[in-house]
Symmetry: C2
Subunit: 232 residues, 2 copies
Amino acid sequence: MRSSDLPEVRELALFESMSAECFESLMRVAYLQTFPGQLELIAEGDPADFLYIVIEGSVELYAKSNGREATMSIVRPVGTLILAAVLKDAVYLMSARTREKSKILLIPSEDIRAAFRQDNDFARAIVVELATAYRGIVKEYKDLKLRSSVERLANRLLRFHEDQGGNGSVELPDDKKILASQLGMTPENLSRAFNTLKPYGVEVDGALVRLTDLSSLRRLAKPNPLIDSPST
Amino acid sequence: MRSSDLPEVRELALFESMSAECFESLMRVAYLQTFPGQLELIAEGDPADFLYIVIEGSVELYAKSNGREATMSIVRPVGTLILAAVLKDAVYLMSARTREKSKILLIPSEDIRAAFRQDNDFARAIVVELATAYRGIVKEYKDLKLRSSVERLANRLLRFHEDQGGNGSVELPDDKKILASQLGMTPENLSRAFNTLKPYGVEVDGALVRLTDLSSLRRLAKPNPLIDSPST
DNA sequence: CGACGATTTGAATAGGATCAATGGGAGTGG
DNA sequence: CCACTCCCATTGATCCTATTCAAATCGTCG
């Protein structure tokens, strides 16, 4: 692959301060592949052979134990998967599958680790990326531990609303099934949680949700920047 | 402070590969303080002015939202608190209080960031530390999302058992109240969970727990290395 | 058109939380 | 050393939240 193929990768915070030569040599060993939807890219427990970067489409990170399964997060362009496993040369803790047809860049983890040893700017960028990811999951963990399912949904809706410009309506980015699993509940319970929020001005029509009484919804949700604000 | 005061700090994975001069200059600006028990060291939302390193005693990391509060983890010697906030120069996402009289080393976060910029070995050590912390909380999150409270308790007991040598009995490292909060349940529910485990050979006597039927307990717990093994 | 999966709704159940009350130590002051 | 107090831990009763199982509806895609 040539680096010129993917200007958006170069612009990733992770790579933008990297030396040109390191970037070139990383791109030379990288693979750009297009996968169909619903394909399992990685399985938890496998050794971390590659760093994955989502260029187009979307990828679901999920985990299993016993018979249960839970969505951990959705990665969209341009985002990386499981940097921590790659850096520690350990096994993946999460599985990943494409949500839809997706274009993914694969970089062998040994090359990532080599670049990390050689290029100090890259090492620093990695630290920022990792620290951000760490703080992101701390927030998810707090969300799950400190809130009821209705509160989690209410806050998630408010967050989508801000992300999407805040014009009073929200487009759910994924299936409700996945949203439910992200929020730590069953699909049935999500459906009921939406009903519970109806008196607070939440009107659901498929993937479109209108928020007609934001102040009331906020009063219920009590959003907390230390949980809900992105990448603080 | 002089670096010779704290050989155990120098031996921390975080610092051991650091250049001597960087380490010296960090130690020169560090404070070593002894705090009484139950003292709030940091409050979530405050700017991250210091990196904290627990030298003696123990520190509880916890978080609040609305009226609720949850223990996130317990840090024991020699461990660091909230590295991610320090590196990102952001606010703390968690609060911290001493559990008992504790000796803590405080290093101004600006100096940590400076050392990180100057010393590449240190930068790399930080990446390993961060990646380990990240993977640790991913496991906690999976534990909470994929298991019932009884399963969480059973697996935690098995983990303590391994940590403590595996001789058939376990000493609970903290109050049951804190254990309950770590496991994401109320103290009442923890008490009942212990009762539920009685038929699986779990005998509780204060902080001492005897495990008299490990195979049966394991059959129930179904331990999963991708959740339960430390620092994989 | 027909099949399949997603979503919703209903009913029953289970898992946890809350409220209240009691027993037990550990630490304090007399 | 003993009485007192406070907080932890346990237990019971009840309530609430969320899951499970079942069934109906809806939409989409082949």
